[in-house]
């Protein structure tokens, strides 16, 4: 072995340093553009935000170009503790997390319903997936209108069931209702649930597609074997199919958790956090605090973002740990 190395290096055309180390250098050349870009826009800003949450700053610079930020230490977090809007947002975030999880079983259920091979199935599958492809802004607008008590679907159906149509002397139609039509998005109590329901629509579609692809890979021989043993229905689903769908379930849970904590678009479109902040979540509250018509409060906003980041980090660490286990198990 040693001889071989010696003869190799003593060849007259000794390769340069670059060439000898090419396997050590090459990856960095391939990585550098992505790393620089990612560092500037993602990694460094995270730390800047964490740091900024210890300052009070309206985003302005003085004439010399120095930031006007003032160090306040943990003051922002103390304020946060006494801020009822913060707690409402946090509570709503938890509601989102819990209720959004319904997308996972619901997606599995629809996937099972659609996992057939009759003609036109491909078309049905893609149409069921449709809600995920359209922007959340559009979904928010659709549902905002859907819930509208005057001319939305909910209002119309409600009137058909509980209301009596009367025509007054002027010929205008009015409705006399046993129960007033619910205005879901203006109700402090129900608005959040209304938005979550709207958010579930695309999320269920996403989970469904994950499970449909997962179901394609379920080992047919195991199903047949279980069938011979007399397993069917729920038992078959729970003991034979679901364990095999584990990779799909993992991704479904990951994207649902992330989706729940990232919910911003729908809230901004449907209620803007109202009525009276009752539908705010941390992601929207942060935006509201940091860039609002009452002046910019970058420091306080950053402290809200830091809390949200902390919650997310908890989940991210778990996901990364799971991925790490898979990596070790692999090659």
């Amino acid at each position: 072995m040693a001889d071989a190395v010696v003869t190799d290096t003593s060849t007259p055309t000794e390769p340069g340093w670059f060439r000898r180390n090419k396997l050590a250098i090459a990856p960095w050349i391939f990585l550098i553009p992505a790393l620089i870009f990612f560092a500037i826009y993602v990694v460094i800003p995270i730390f800047e935000s964490l740091w900024l949450s210890l300052y009070e700053w309206n985003g302005l610079y003085d004439a010399e170009g120095n930031s006007t930020a003032v160090w306040v230490g943990f003051q922002n977090y103390v304020k946060l503790w006494d801020d009822p809007n913060f707690w409402t947002s946090l509570r709503n975030n938890i509601a989102w997390l819990i209720l959004y999880m319904l997308a996972v079983p619901a997606g599995l259920f629809i996937a099972l319903f659609l996992n057939q091979t009759v003609t036109g199935m491909r078309f049905y599958k893609s149409m069921f997936f449709f809600p995920f492809v359209i922007s959340q802004v559009v979904v928010g607008l659709i549902f905002g209108w859907f819930y509208n008590p005057d001319f939305g679907v909910v209002g119309t159906v409600w009137k058909a069931i509980f209301c009596e149509e009367t025509t007054n002397i002027l010929g205008n139609t009015t409705f006399r209702c046993e129960r007033p039509v619910p205005d879901i998005l203006s109700s402090e109590q129900w608005a959040t649930y209304g938005i979550i329901a709207a958010g579930l629509w695309p999320q269920i579609a996403y989970c469904m597609i994950l499970y449909l692809t997962g179901l394609n890979n379920v080992a047919a021989d195991q199903i047949e074997a279980a069938r011979l043993d007399g397993a069917k229905g729920w038992k078959m689903l729970w003991y034979v199919v679901v364990p095999q769908l584990k990779p799909a379930t993992f991704i479904a849970v990951v994207v649902t958790v992330i989706g729940a904590l990232r919910s911003f678009d729908m809230i901004a479109i449907m209620t803007q956090g109202g009525p009276f902040g009752s539908t705010n979540v941390l992601s929207h509250y942060m935006f509201e605090v940091a860039i609002s018509e009452y002046g910019e409060r970058y420091g306080y906003g950053s402290s809200v973002a830091t809390v949200l980041f902390g919650i997310m980090l908890f989940f991210i660490s778990y996901f990364l740990w799971r991925m790490y286990q898979d990596e070790k198990g692999g090659r």
Binding site: L112, S126, V137, A268, I269
Partner: protein, 282 residues
């Protein structure tokens, strides 16, 4: 196959299933159908309260042209394209390079770097908001198209690298090994051996990133203020304020905003789904 194929349960069951499917679909897409019906109604219908029944007349072309003539929708659509296309090109290109490095070379920080990209992809946008906005203002990128696509490209590089690295890792390593023994330069291996093999991954990422960025709303709000650089998602919201109670126009505008990703999805369905499952569920 689970559940048991419906064909095995007899002809009636199969017929019942096939008859039920369209109902289930209509129920599922009810909000979308309702808004489509609204978008082809005339203003008279909306004002007279006929918002859920059959339209008294069809105003499809009138409404959709009105969106373009009465608002800056055309400008918003163009902006969306100008933001989305460069994002796709930059992020996929960077991810091909980075994914190749992380999948092929064994060096100590390969896995930590990979996890950095993965983690970056999951973080909440809000933690980036203030610094990125401030940086954009400082560099003159605030309220410009470039300011948006540069950010999106950087952020999406995380997801693209995750996907690309896993895809390349699944390729047969012998190919690279034998090319190296032949003395092929590293960049040539990347260009002539690996790149042709990752075409499906490039297609999957292209459609996915296109859809993600097209549908972005948060950054459109953070990084723009005027009409000149606003993408269609933020534009639709502005139109919502402009067309108060003109639900036929608001719905037409929303559906217009949804068309490009929908077309993209239907054209490249297989790639799209492969991308969404992160390549982990094949």
């Amino acid at each position: 196959m689970f559940p048991r194929p419906i064909e095995k349960s007899g002809a009636t069951a199969k017929a019942a299933y096939q008859a039920f499917l369209p109902f289930a679909l209509i129920l599922w897409l009810l909000p979308l159908l309702a808004i489509f019906l609204t978008s082809i109604r005339s203003a008279a219908d909306i004002n007279s309260g006929n918002v859920f029944g059959w339209p008294s007349e069809f105003a499809l072309i009138e409404n959709y042209t009105a969106v373009f003539t009465q608002s800056a929708a055309a400008q918003y659509m163009i902006n969306s394209v100008l933001i989305t296309v460069p994002t796709v090109i930059i992020s996929v290109a960077l991810a091909c390079l980075a994914g190749y490095a992380l999948a092929i070379y064994r060096f100590r920080v390969a896995l930590p770097l990979f996890f950095l990209f993965v983690a970056g992809n999951f973080i909440p946008f809000q933690i980036l908001m203030v610094p990125v906005r401030d940086m954009s203002v400082q560099t003159g990128l605030y309220d410009t198209i470039a300011g948006q696509f540069l950010f999106h490209a950087a952020f999406q590089t995380g997801f693209c690298t995750l996907f690309m690295r896993n895809f390349i890792k699944a390729l047969p390593f012998d190919l690279i090994e034998s090319a190296r023994i032949e003395g092929v330069a590293e960049w040539r291996i990347f260009w002539f051996v690996v790149l042709p093999l990752v075409r499906p991954a490039i297609a999957a990422l292209a459609v996915l990133i296109f859809t993600f960025v097209w549908n972005d709303f948060f950054w459109a709000n953070v990084l723009t203020q005027g009409e000149s650089a606003k993408p269609i998602t933020a534009g639709v919201r502005a139109l919502n304020g402009q067309f108060v109670n003109n639900w036929h126009l608001v719905s037409a505008a929303s559906l217009l905003a949804a068309i490009p990703p929908v077309v993209c999805f239907f054209l490249m369905q297989r790639h799209f789904i492969a991308g969404l499952t992160l390549g982990a569920v094949k």
